[in-house]
């Protein structure tokens, strides 16, 4: 772009699927508006890889100065990213990373480390079991995000790998997807409650799902004995923690996420040095330390 401003295109994963992504989009636009030296083209792939690739092609064709991509599939976008690279357009990946094969065409990744998030959730869960003295007999069920999504897979992997390391005697007895959907998770949890007389912990891939599971347990009068741990602390999760029914989560701000992505892109365009893996921190949050955090806006 001319007139001393940069034009940056972004193709988001699936705005509207939950309030995280919406808040991200709004924060991204707000950050761009606050900055005179940048204009943005904001596109949404609606969760569809083909649409995302088409959007990348459109952005290349429009000759934007940089492209930010929130991948719908961390591998499928690589050839499109290469195309941008070949057209000398720097690409910044946001929120969830692309596969290593594509790293050579990418300037930087900016976002949370979802594998670490999963391990942290495992640690929160295990610490709680230890505090309750049930670390040798506790049974856990696991509700994952939308099947096939990188974020969902990485968190599940982080949790499943870490839990046996910290709490080797805790048994994970079932795992089903809740599709990032509160209602779906509530149904899944209802079935778990019928099927298992003994459930001590529920790990959900995000708090929307976690609260769905919590609602099911509350309705069945079994919430008391269960430790609920989630990820991405949505406002509902924060409130449930304040109520004392939900135990812990991972604090992750979509505003930080969006601002970091835009800043990284601008830094790249200005030729500044940026780390390749530009993680922003996503700390543990539990009933015990929650007053250190403000209530999420989303």
């Amino acid at each position: 772009g001319g007139h001393g401003t940069f034009t940056i295109g972004i193709t988001q994963n699936n705005v509207g699927v939950d309030s995280y992504q919406t808040t991200y989009e709004q924060a991204f636009i707000a950050a761009a508006e606050a900055n005179d030296s940048v204009e943005v083209v904001v596109l949404d792939a609606g969760g569809d890889v083909a649409r995302q690739i088409a959007q990348m092609e459109d952005l290349i064709q429009q000759e934007v100065d940089a492209i930010i991509v929130w991948p719908t599939n961390g591998e499928a976008v690589i050839p499109a990213v290469r195309k941008a690279h070949q057209a000398d357009i720097p690409v910044i990946v946001t929120n969830s990373n692309i596969a290593e094969q594509g790293f050579e065409f990418v300037s930087s990744f900016s976002g949370p480390d979802n594998v670490t998030q999963g391990s942290r959730s495992a640690e929160i869960m295990c610490d709680r079991f230890k505090a309750l003295g049930i670390e040798n007999e506790a049974k856990v069920v696991h509700i994952t995000g939308q099947p096939g999504y990188t974020t969902a897979i990485e968190r599940a992997q982080g949790f499943n790998d870490r839990l046996p390391e910290v709490c080797p005697n805790v048994e994970q007895i079932d795992q089903q997807p809740g599709d990032w959907n509160r209602e779906k998770s509530q149904q899944v949890m209802e079935a778990f409650l019928v099927k298992y007389d003994d459930i001590d912990g529920v790990y959900s891939g995000d708090d929307n799902m976690g609260v769905g599971a919590l609602n099911a347990a509350l309705a069945a009068n079994r919430a008391e004995g269960i430790t609920f741990v989630g990820a991405t602390n949505f406002a509902v999760g924060y409130e449930a923690m304040a109520d004392g029914t939900y135990w812990g989560s991972i604090y992750q701000s979509p505003v930080d996420d969006a601002e970091a992505a835009l800043k990284t892109a601008l830094d790249v365009l200005k030729g500044e040095e940026v780390p390749f893996l530009n993680y922003f921190d996503t700390p543990k949050i539990t009933q015990e330390n929650m007053d250190e955090f403000t209530k999420p806006v989303f």
Partner: protein, 314 residues
């Protein structure tokens, strides 16, 4: 096309891009991007002309993609070097044909309505996709393949050639061959076709195999370039394909429709999406406007095709 003009003008004022919407390269890109849905929509036209519907194409698309990409990682395939590529295509296409044949056979032999059969297999085939590789994406990035898929010949992308080829061949099939004409007759008046001694079952079977093939071909074209498939890929493609077909004027009740008009429907949808992006509409607006424009196009189309005042008021 009304959308074209609208977005060109709106783009002048709203877009941050200095490139015009009507830019020739942009239109070439549009054709290319129309290929995945377009190839499926061509098959859907045939199925709908025949009096059926196929809701399982999205899942077939995904399963064929998995076979395409995964087969290239099999040891004997890897040993073949780039010769594995045509073989992988073949496997993928065969997958599509088999899945189509399953639908076709069930429709034929049980007499259960195609809507229900394929609503079922939309779920069932999606289940197979997940069973194949759990929740993980299936990936195999082969740069030779990508280069082929990204290539341009006489200015048109590989995907565009495939789309145009499919449109041409299927158009010939439906307008020039006995099979095509019989398919129209069956969709138009099944009982009459049966009375005339046309074997309805085999026609169903062939056409379901054809749409399976085309769904797989669409996957071959698209995933040769992208190299990775999510287990959720292709969801809702059936609805977009059907929308394109109906926008093209094909009757849902069968017996009437044209492949060429379907191509028009596909391009209209793609234009809409691309145009909305071009003028910088946000997600809410895109959803709202796509929906309303779809209805508006249908409305205009009806107004233009009215028979006038002499029509019966039924």
């Amino acid at each position: 096309m009304a959308e074209l003009i609208f977005f060109s003008i709106a783009g002048e004022f709203l877009s941050v891009s200095e490139k015009a919407f009507m830019d020739f390269d942009n239109m070439l890109l549009l054709l290319k991007q129309s290929a995945p849905i377009g190839i499926i929509a061509v098959g859907m036209t045939i199925i709908m002309v025949n009096g059926n519907i196929d809701l399982s194409v999205g899942a077939t698309f995904a399963l064929a993609a998995i076979v395409l990409l995964d087969s290239m990682t099999w040891p004997f395939m890897q040993a073949m070097g780039n010769w594995a590529i045509p073989l992988a295509w073949l496997f993928a296409l065969a997958t599509g044909v088999i899945l189509g044949a399953i639908n076709g056979l069930i429709v034929w032999k049980t007499g259960v309505d195609a809507f229900i059969v394929t609503l079922g297999s939309m779920l069932g085939y999606r289940g197979l996709v997940f069973i194949y590789n759990g929740e993980q994406p299936t990936s195999h990035l082969n740069w030779t393949l990508v280069d082929f898929a990204e290539a341009q010949f006489l200015g048109l992308h590989t995907a565009t050639w495939f789309l145009l080829g499919v449109v041409l061949l299927c158009w010939l099939l439906m307008t020039r061959t006995v099979h095509g004409r019989n398919a129209y007759a069956i969709g138009n008046n099944r009982e009459a076709a049966v009375n005339a001694g046309i074997r309805v079952g085999p026609h169903f079977l062939w056409n379901f195999m054809l749409i399976g093939f085309l769904a797989a071909l669409s996957a071959v074209v698209f995933y040769s370039e992208s190299g990775s498939v999510n287990p959720n890929d292709g969801m809702l493609y059936e609805l977009w394909a059907i929308t394109a077909v109906v926008l093209g004027g094909t009757k849902l009740s069968g017996g009437y429709g044209s492949i060429i008009s379907t191509l028009g429907g596909v391009i209209a949808i793609q234009l809409l999406r691309k145009g909305l992006g071009h003028i910088g509409a946000d997600t809410e607006t895109v959803n709202l406007v796509i929906g309303l424009i779809l209805i508006a196009v249908l409305f205009l189309d009806r107004q233009l095709n009215r028979k006038g005042k002499e029509e019966l008021r039924t």
